[in-house]
């Protein structure tokens, strides 16, 4: 037994050394101009849009207190226009990232709610992403934000082998070169406070037949897991006495009825307002206000932001 354990220990030690060496080596050697071999072998989509790096950099280098923190997926960072909010004296910052599933949102809030200390949180729900295990967003975060305890917790929650590899790679690389070290602040084109300015339209959306009916399917295990995280998000934010609003963006695609019902239940449980913006879809011009079937463009965002602001003002959120 003793011999077996000693051999096992030796094997694990060699494995850790080799694993670290492979991660460090492949992270340093470039595959092409943009990506390293490591990015390539783990399918790491660092190329994702959403300006993740800058929005988190700004969140940790704030010059002005934030009234509203918006968190969610790409639907959120294409729908909440900070300029419209600013006109109404509301200073918002978006920590929404591509494919951000509730499992990602929960751990991000755990870390950034106390750092940013907003007066209010808006969590934009994406029903389709309830079926995501959050790994896509996790890659994005590991590449663009400093590794933290919460990021490790997120990895443990996702619990998939390559999640640990990505996290470990981020840790090794950031130990070597801290992520914000020597960064010269520069606002990317089409970016403001986490929002992505994009006036692209899809003229076909105005003419083609669009199915926006409800899918009457049962919840998957992944959806149940993510719904638990939405419950955690509500409880966590409320436990810090921060008001929270749930929103859902107008979309031109099918969504799952049961998921929506469950979110209504969570909202009711925590006495949170759930603003389903789909009811304002009729006020939008599909071929002008949508980027694609699932996202608004900046024209649409301006309209929807106005609606959200009115809702916030009518709901007696105090600033």
């Amino acid at each position: 037994m003793k011999k077996f354990l000693v051999r096992g220990g030796l094997f694990v030690f060699i494995l850790i050394c080799l694993y670290s060496a492979v991660i460090y080596g492949t992270s340093k050697i470039k595959y092409n101009e943009k990506y390293t071999i490591f990015n390539q072998i783990v399918n790491n989509p660092v190329k994702r849009g959403g300006a993740t790096f800058i929005k988190f950099y700004e969140a940790t280098h704030l010059t002005k207190p934030v009234d509203i923190l918006v968190i969610g997926s790409s639907r959120a960072f294409r729908s909440f226009d900070p300029d419209v909010f600013e006109k109404n004296n509301l200073h918002i910052h978006l920590l929404a990232t591509s494919s951000q599933a509730p499992v990602n949102t929960y751990y991000l809030l755990k870390e950034y709610l106390l750092k940013i200390r907003p007066k209010m949180v808006i969590f934009d729900v994406h029903l389709g992403l309830l079926n995501s295990n959050g790994i896509e967003c996790f890659y994005d975060l590991c590449t663009n934000i400093p590794v933290s305890k919460e990021l490790f917790e997120m990895a443990l929650d996702i619990d998939q082998a390559n999640t640990y590899s990505i996290c470990y790679a981020a840790l090794i690389n950031q130990a070597d070169t801290p992520i914000y070290k020597g960064y010269a602040y520069k606002v990317p084109k089409g970016y403001r406070k986490g929002f992505l300015v994009d006036y692209k339209t899809d003229s076909t959306l105005g003419t083609k037949k669009i199915d926006t009916s409800w899918m009457k399917k049962d919840l998957t295990a992944q959806e149940i897991k993510n719904l638990k995280h939405i419950d955690n998000i509500a409880r966590f934010v409320r436990s810090h006495n921060v008001p929270i609003l749930f929103t859902k963006q107008p979309v031109l695609s099918r969504e799952k009825l049961l998921s929506n019902k469950k979110i209504h239940e969570i909202a009711t449980k925590y006495q949170i307002k759930y603003l389903d913006l789909n009811k304002f879809r009729k006020d939008l011009n599909f071929s002008h206000d949508f980027y694609d079937q699932n996202h608004l463009n900046t024209y649409g965002a301006e309209k929807i932001s106005e609606i959200i602001i009115k809702e916030i003002q009518n709901s007696n959120f105090i600033f």
């Binding site: 494995l15 080799l18 694993y19 783990v42 295990n133 998939q160 082998a161 390559n162």
Partner: protein
């Protein structure tokens, strides 16, 4: 807590150290630890059904005692029937009630009786099909006097909830597990090392092959516009996925058991290398097929042979008629065991048809091969293997499809001219891993598993290099972790 998760790794390492370091040579304490671990493991999935698991185990413990203590055949039979009704009744209530409901209502409406029953909306308890089958085999084996009734309730509880097998098999019957639980266990480094290797093989197959194949298979089975060739490869990828997924679970379960000093029944024997459909079923989910053989097929065939006295029935030999009837019944039940849907029943019946055809043409095929000296011809054997694989892949379409019309539509869209066009979105990166996987399986086909190095003259350096390489691939290659398919059953 999937076997592939870090949570399970932590759970098992703690258990392993306590089991062998603290409680070595203390069989009773080891068993208490195993029972606690088993209930913890099951409760981690859904604690609400722990009561059901314990209830079924206790019920069968008392039924076992009742059957075993009675000397009168009728009394024993009555207890057995009561046990079968309770076990099957539980399974039907939780798993099949909603499936039978519309049928029941229409049946009663024929007699102008309007049943006001509603869907129970039960969640199917994880592993219920497996532990009810273990329970049934326990009481039937006592009835058949293959096994004595267990006096100590503790052993029955453990043999029906043993954590490596409780969720998705292998269906390791109490008749083989109970004696092992009672025997003092010494740490056997050879067995433990082999267990580790088998676990590693299972882990690699699940995470590299099954989970990656699932992505393409899922896409094709839900894409209404996929071309014939895409659908063909989708079915092929699902065939690889389900084999890799389920055999890997069995490998991990057997590996874990070996690490704890137990030897479980082998569940897969490289089934895609089968030369005919009967051979396939001797190699696939062995613990289930032998269960159905021993508790359903053979008793039914025996019963029918007592009832059918004529030499021929409808110009067919009576032994063939008995075989056909028994096969059809057994396979429709086998299909239904997998899930409360017509797709599974049809899948079972498709296999029953293949088996009947095999039985009918077996002698003709044998004499044809002998006449042309093809019994050992490599090409002929390769053709047999591919032909068998083709039949299996075809049947999997019914198994994977959500509904029967969807399965028929899938096959209809596959066999079109677009079958000869290049497949869309084909995952070329999977070609090499799948090729390596089947090459290793082929090379190891006479062994217990892909990393079985028993009697292999490999030095430790080479073996460790192989393990390290596999682990590194696992850490980098997985796309999206999927739950084991057989958890649904």
């Amino acid at each position: 807590m999937l076997f592939t998760s870090v949570k399970f790794a932590v759970f098992f390492i703690l258990l392993f150290l306590l089991y062998w370091l603290l409680f070595n040579n203390k069989t009773k304490t080891q068993n208490v630890l195993l029972l606690v671990a088993s209930y913890l493991f099951y409760g981690f999935w859904d604690f609400r059904f722990l009561g059901l698991l314990a209830g079924i185990s206790l019920l069968n413990y008392f039924l076992g005692l009742a059957i075993g203590s009675s000397s009168r055949r009728m009394t024993r039979k009555t207890w057995l029937i009561l046990g079968l009704v309770c076990n099957i009744g539980t399974l039907v209530t939780f798993k099949y009630f909603d499936f039978f409901l519309p049928g029941l209502q229409s049946l009663f409406s024929v007699f102008s009786i309007h049943l006001n029953l509603h869907s129970l909306g039960f969640i199917v308890p994880l592993g219920i099909s497996f532990y009810t089958f273990l329970s049934i085999s326990y009481i039937v084996d006592i009835y058949r006097k293959k096994l004595g009734p267990e006096k100590n309730v503790f052993y029955v509880l453990l043999s029906l909830s043993f954590f490596p097998i409780v969720l998705a098999g292998p269906i390791n019957r109490p008749v083989s597990l109970l004696p092992q639980l009672k025997t003092p266990r010494d740490f056997d480094p050879v067995l433990a090392s082999d267990g580790l290797r088998q676990f590693l093989w299972g882990l690699a197959v699940k995470m590299i092959i099954a989970d990656n194949c699932a992505v393409y298979a899922d896409k094709t089975f839900t894409d209404p516009s996929a071309t014939g060739s895409t659908l063909f490869y989708g079915a092929l990828f699902f065939s690889i996925q389900i084999y890799a997924d389920f055999s890997s679970y069995s490998d991990m379960a057997i590996g874990i058991s070996k690490l704890l000093g137990f030897r479980l029944i082998r569940n897969f024997n490289f089934p895609y290398f089968a030369t005919d459909i009967a051979d396939f079923w001797r190699r696939w989910h062995i613990s289930l097929t032998t269960w159905f053989r021993d508790y359903l097929f053979l008793p039914l065939a025996y019963f029918l042979s007592g009832k059918i006295k004529k030499q021929k029935v409808l110009f067919i030999r009576s032994d063939l008629v008995i075989y056909i009837l028994s096969i059809l019944f057994t396979w429709s039940i086998t299909g239904f065991w997998h899930g409360a849907a017509w797709t599974f029943i049809i899948w079972g019946l498709v296999h029953a048809f293949f088996l009947v055809m095999h039985q009918v043409f077996r002698k003709i095929k044998k004499s044809f091969l002998a006449r042309h000296h093809l019994q050992k011809d490599l090409l002929a054997v390769a053709f047999e293997r591919f032909f068998t694989l083709g039949m299996i892949v075809l049947a999997w379409v019914f198994f994977r499809s959500k509904t029967l019309p969807k399965a028929i539509d899938y096959l209809d869209r596959t066999f079109t001219l677009s079958l000869f066009s290049p497949p869309l979105g084909f995952p070329t990166k999977m070609i090499i891993p799948i090729f390596i996987f089947f090459t290793i399986e082929w090379a190891q086909r006479d062994k217990q598993h892909g990393l079985d190095f028993t009697d292999a003259p490999k030095t430790r350096f080479i073996r460790w290099a192989i393990y390290l390489f596999i682990l590194l691939i696992i850490f980098f290659y997985q796309v999206k972790q999927q739950e084991f398919i057989y958890f649904k059953f």
